[in-house]
Amino acid sequence: MPMLAIAALAAITFAFRLAGPLLQERVAVPATAQRLFTSAAAVLLVALAATSALTAGHDFAGWARPAGVAAAGLLAARRAPFPVVVLVAASVTALLRLAGIH
């Protein structure tokens, strides 16, 4: 990963961050478009959670990681504090691997 690639990603990311506040001052973004962007963000978050939980490279990541993430997801749905959610994800995954389930 060359420095140029990191700089490019940083510049693109910053442009996305700044575009919202700058645009808001100049044009009216329709409410429908804002809602669509919000839904798109939710869809992307869930898709990234699913692929990073279930896959490694082009293959299945094994059972331990998705099991840990699922346990964490259940706790998150019950409004458990964030650190608990994260620690449960790591612990369940680590314990399963210790037990020989990968």
Partner: protein, 258 residues
């Protein structure tokens, strides 16, 4: 007056507590990121530079994952950039809090640029909890600044840990990132259509992962947005359709600070 002061004090300490909890969780994720990147074979400065300059956990993990899976730097940047497109609607949602008061043009721009860099899933989620402008501002800047500090301490710590312990998988660190994403995403899945869109999109992304180059499957998930489309009866005339420019005073909120 006194009651107001007490209420503010109570919500201030609630804000500090909530921000601390989120930052602690993200600190663990930051350690995981630094450790995963270095244990995968990347030099130490890659995760450190990314955390300072990009400062968007999801795209950092995605870009590093692409590179570690053998993908090209272009594919890595594309994957990260695509994920960060969500920062655009975030910026729209919090544009009132990233601006600053004051007569100095330079200071206003500095605050705006700094505020933009602090736009993250977390800081925006905190800002959106409040309707009062002062409280929105306090929530956004407290969370954003704390998170930036914690993240950029946690990642180098992770680099050290990853250098010492090559087998990060044994500690289940790879499960922390999807867990945080899921915990952040759950509160946004409020209505049924968004849930269908997200589940459909996630299913498609996972199914396409063996077939497509890294980074593209997550993009393909946007196809799930089709679930949001609903046929509507067209309004009778173009006048009612909302396609014409609305009067500026309705479209742009009047702000006292600009």
């Amino acid at each position: 007056m006194r009651l107001q002061w007490r209420t503010n004090q109570a919500s201030d300490s609630a804000l500090v507590r909530d921000v601390a909890l989120v930052c602690l969780a993200d600190g663990i994720v930051g350690v995981s990121f630094g450790a995963t990147a270095v244990a995968g074979g990347l030099p130490w400065w890659v995760p450190v530079a990314m955390s300072l300059l990009v400062f968007a956990g999801g795209s950092q993990f995605a870009a590093v994952a692409v590179v570690l899976a053998g993908g090209s730097p272009v594919a890595a940047v594309t994957a990260g950039a695509v994920l960060n497109t969500r920062l655009f609607p975030y910026g729209l949602a919090v544009s009132d809090v990233t601006s600053a008061d004051g007569p100095s043009r330079t200071r206003r721009w500095a605050a705006r640029l700094l505020g933009a860099q602090l736009v993250t899933d977390e800081s925006v989620a905190f800002a959106l909890r409040h309707t009062d402008p002062a409280r929105r501002k306090a929530a956004f800047w407290t969370c954003g600044a704390t998170l930036f500090t914690v993240w950029n301490i946690a990642v180098p710590l992770g680099v050290l840990a990853g250098t010492a312990v090559r087998n990060t998988a044994a500690f289940g660190l790879d499960a922390t990132f999807p867990a945080v994403l899921l915990a952040l995403a759950l509160p946004t899945l409020t209505d049924g259509r968004t849930r269908v869109a997200a589940l459909g999109g996630a299913g498609a992304a996972v199914a396409l992962t063996p077939l497509l180059p890294a980074g593209l499957p997550v993009l393909a998930a946007l196809g799930g947005l089709a679930a949001l489309w609903r046929p509507r009866r067209r309004p009778r005339s173009a006048e009612d359709s909302g396609t014409h420019q609305r009067p500026a005073e309705h479209a742009i909120p009047v702000r006292s600070d600009c």
